[in-house]
């Protein structure tokens, strides 16, 4: 059984704990084990913290990496932002001896050290590795009616010199997985647009304008649900639809699924086991 050190980040434990539960459950079904990373902190985030204090950002990321190094396991992240941060920091520290020494001296103060022995994976990548055959064998439910708008999000594929999950400009990894569970991935023009959540804190208005454009494009393409591997995109779509509806007098109600929720439904977990009752936008029959 393949085992990973499960890195949760902040959003999932704080606001979306059901995503952790369903992910662990679903991955187990495919023989992928996860072990918690005791003492892990915020990743920290790949934009703000990195811009404010690059070395502090590296040091905190290195500390998180060092926990998994001690466990002798590769890291599995459920969040694309954590994936981006930890992968980038891992690469920088593996390649830049000078920075590695400097960060190493910070870490030695807390009796830790970075040695560069592990890799960082994102859950979508790990699911792709399971492969279509193994997934099709376990299918319990037919999702033929699902017309899925996939939202890859930014940090799953960027920075593209670090993350080689898929083409950064036109990724198709989610569409592949969606088609493996028998659902239909839908092309829509604004597929590559950012969900908008990244600027929510500084410009909530633009954030909603972006989300609204995105939702409009999804509606025009006649999709009936949204799937994403990123908890930030998830929360933006799931909760943001309500805000868009209120602000622009719209009536969007696309059910939103995290990638392991989709897989969980397909392999026969009940809606309660998956935690669909915790979604803000209610999930009815798709």
């Amino acid at each position: 059984m393949r085992e990973y050190a499960l890195f949760l980040g902040c959003l999932i434990p704080a606001r979306l704990p059901s995503l952790e539960a369903v992910s662990v459950k679903v991955l187990e079904k495919f023989g992928i084990g996860t072990r918690p990373m005791i003492g892990a902190s915020c990743c920290p985030d790949p934009i703000v913290m990195k811009s404010l204090d690059y070395k502090a950002w590296l040091a905190i990321a290195a500390r998180n990496l060092s926990i998994a190094e001690e466990m002798k396991l590769d890291i599995l992240t459920l969040c694309s932002g954590c994936f981006s941060t930890l992968s980038k920091a891992n690469k920088v520290l593996k390649e830049n001896a000078k920075l590695k020494d400097e960060i190493g001296s910070f870490l030695s103060e807390i009796n830790r050290g970075f040695s560069g022995t592990i890799n960082v994976r994102q859950v979508a990548e790990v699911i792709r590795e399971i492969g279509p055959e193994a997934i099709k064998q376990r299918l319990q439910r037919t999702l033929e009616q699902w017309r899925v708008a996939t939202q890859h999000g930014c940090h799953l594929v960027r920075p593209s010199d670090v993350l080689h999950v898929d083409d950064p400009n036109r990724p198709t990894i989610l569409d592949e997985i969606v088609s493996w569970v028998g659902a239909k991935p839908i092309e829509y023009p604004l597929k590559m647009l950012c969900c908008g959540v990244g600027i929510k804190a500084i410009d909530p208005e633009t954030n909603l304008i972006m989300l609204r454009e995105k939702l409009e494009s999804i509606r025009e393409a006649e999709a009936n649900c949204i799937v994403t591997p990123c908890p930030f995109c998830f929360i933006q779509f799931d909760m943001g639809q309500r805000e868009v509806n209120r602000k622009f007098k719209e009536s969007y109600a696309f059910p939103v699924f995290y990638i392991t929720e989709l897989l969980g439904l397909a392999v026969g977990l009940s809606p309660e086991e998956i935690g669909l009752q915790f979604h803000t936008t209610p999930v009815k029959e798709v």
């Binding site: 400009n169 092309e187 829509y188 023009p189 597929k191």
Partner: protein, 591 residues
């Protein structure tokens, strides 16, 4: 020879400050004096200067030197200079060596190291060279009679030009072309900048002349499969693929083409039109002989039809033709294998291959051509309607760290050319936008051409689009670009997007380079012997390169190189005999 006393002279060059600024010359000089058999060592500001060479000559005479080591710059640049200088003073050229330490000292050199390291490296290289030159024996030279013939690989404009030059000088030329017709990519350009001449019209006189020239043997549908031997005496194997039409009997009347029931995508239409399975590639094709495409021919695929055989008045069709291997003996070889257009589907953000209305400039040239699939009407692929807003995107696959870093040098100009053709001759009211990083128009008459295009009302947007989306209903394209002059992101809706794709090396160049034993540069083009001073020679004597196979260039530059390569081949072969090291000749005979 081995009994003779070895007397080595070492000459260290400052190269102005290029070497002296990066290494301690005196330390190096002292080190040289300590080496075995070194009886004289000196330093000089410019060893390659007349004065520097005189120092070498004087020292040879005064100290009775019989070995010379010059510690200076790149041997490909100056070896011959110092060998000639030594020879004048009576030293066998085999015993004059030039070593390069400048690469470690010169500002801007990619291999530059610090002072200490440079001294260490230079000492080491000098020690080894002195040791080698002490142990070395002179290589006997023998006279070789050369074949007064040349193989030219590639029948594009560069290959044709080189062939004509050499044939006119009296050499027998074998012109090998992979396709059934010569003319190469130029035949597909419709018009050429900056004169807006019709490309086939200015190409045809050359290809037609090559076809009828008594000294040129055209080998179309053929590939070079093996090369042995050395300058003056290459043995080449050429595989001629069957065209299933007897070239001697075929008159090019085209009756077979008319009657052929099978269709295939046409190369001449950049995949946008159809041709028959038996075909003459384009009206001005040279040779004007039909060829059968076995992959699409009903007889070869299903065993039926043979209509062409029945209708041919001269009985030229021959389904029994087999591949044929020919052996040629030539004195030198010119590789002019040309280029290919970068495959833009690799730049996924532009949606080429996904969105029907995203095409390449090569495809646009075919659409504009009156002999093209639309007979010169500009109709967009999705619905056959005339586009009103046309957006061109420059530098697709070039000047891009994720694809090719180099500039393809012709894309700015061909985009301007197509903009002019559309504005002046095809769709006067169309709005044309060109998204560029920098407009690069450094050629004779090119800047004027750029101005003419601006005056026609073409809009230039400085910025490289990062995304193209398709409106699923209209199939129009929404192009997202940051206008870096406005400093703002802008969105355009275009009916047609045209990608100005990079020039990349053509397929098979790697195998050919291995056969010819020549080098490829970091981008996969043939590498010249020296980037500035020997642009058409290679590391193999007697093998020359020209045209886009050496790097991206426009037609006049390709012609210049073709003429240069022909001239180099002529210089080597014209005396009828050359001196070569004995071992090379022996190896050539045994292989």
């Amino acid at each position: 020879m081995s009994k003779e006393e070895k007397r080595v002279g070492v000459f260290i060059c400052h190269c102005g400050k290029n070497i002296a600024g990066g290494v301690d010359i005196n330390a190096l000089l002292e080190h040289a004096k300590k080496l075995t058999d070194v009886v004289f060592a000196a330093e000089n500001r410019f060893t390659c200067s007349e004065e520097g060479q005189a120092t070498i000559c004087d020292a040879v005479k005064e100290h009775n030197l019989n070995r010379i080591v010059v510690v200076a710059c790149d041997p490909t640049l100056h070896s011959a200079t110092f060998q000639r200088c030594g020879e004048k003073a009576g030293v066998d050229p085999a015993f004059t060596e030039l070593i390069d330490i400048r690469k470690w000292t010169m500002p801007g050199s990619p291999q530059k190291v610090d002072q200490e390291q440079a001294l260490e490296n230079s000492k080491r290289l000098m020690e080894q060279t002195v040791k080698r030159i002490r142990l070395k024996r002179a290589i006997p030279q023998v006279e070789v009679i050369v074949e007064p013939s040349v193989l030219v690989i590639g029948g594009g404009i560069a290959g044709v030009e080189a062939s004509l030059d050499l044939a006119d000088k009296g050499y027998k030329v074998f012109l090998v072309e992979r396709l059934p017709t010569i003319g190469g990519k130029m035949a597909l350009l419709y018009k050429v900048f900056p004169t807006n001449d019709c490309a086939p019209c200015i190409l045809a006189p050359k290809t037609a002349y090559a076809n009828m020239h008594p000294n040129i043997t055209l080998l179309t549908n053929s590939e070079v499969v093996d090369v042995q031997g050395h300058v003056g005496n290459f043995q080449v194997k050429v595989l001629k693929h069957p065209r299933y039409v007897d070239e001697k009997k075929c008159t090019g009347d085209g009756i077979c083409v008319e009657k052929c029931p099978a269709k295939a995508p046409s190369e001449y239409s950049a995949g946008m039109g159809k041709r028959k399975a038996i075909y003459i590639p384009f009206p001005q094709a040279i040779p004007r002989k039909a060829a059968i495409d076995a992959d699409h021919c009903l007889y070869f695929q299903k065993g039926i039809c043979r209509v062409c055989e029945k209708v041919c008045p001269t009985g030229a069709v021959n389904f029994e033709q087999k591949p044929e291997t020919m052996e040629l003996k030539v004195g030198s070889i010119i590789a002019a294998t040309g280029f290919e257009e970068y495959d833009p589907s690799k730049k996924k953000e532009y949606g080429y291959g996904l969105y029907p209305n995203v095409i390449t400039q090569f495809q646009l040239a075919r659409l504009l051509d009156i002999d093209g699939p639309t007979k010169g009407k500009l109709l967009r692929p999705s619905d056959g309607k005339e586009p009103k807003n046309i957006m061109m995107i420059q530098c697709v696959g070039s000047r891009d760290e994720k694809a090719n870093v180099y500039c393809s040098s012709v894309c700015c100009m061909y985009a301007l050319k197509h903009a002019q053709i559309i504005k002046e001759m095809v769709l006067h009211d169309a709005e044309i936008y060109i998204c560029y990083i920098d407009m690069r128009t450094p050629g004779k008459g090119f800047e004027e051409y750029y101005k003419q295009t601006r005056d026609l009302g073409v809009t230039f947007i400085r910025g490289k689009p990062n995304e193209i989306m398709e409106d699923p209903k209209t199939k129009n394209l929404i192009v997202v670009v940051e206008d870096t002059l406005l400093g703002e992101p802008v969105m355009f809706e275009a009916d047609l997007v045209v990608l100005s794709c990079a020039i990349v090396p053509s397929q098979g160049m790697k195998q050919l380079a291995e056969m010819l034993r020549i080098e490829l540069d970091e981008n996969g083009f043939f590498k010249e012997a020296h980037p500035k001073l020997r642009p058409v020679e290679t590391n193999v004597r007697g093998v020359y390169i020209c045209g886009c196979a050496q790097g991206p260039k426009d037609i006049p530059d390709a012609i210049v190189q073709a003429k240069a390569a022909a001239s180099c081949a002529d210089s080597e072969l014209r005396k009828g005999k050359i001196m070569l090291p004995e071992f090379i000749v022996k190896m050539g005979k045994t292989s």
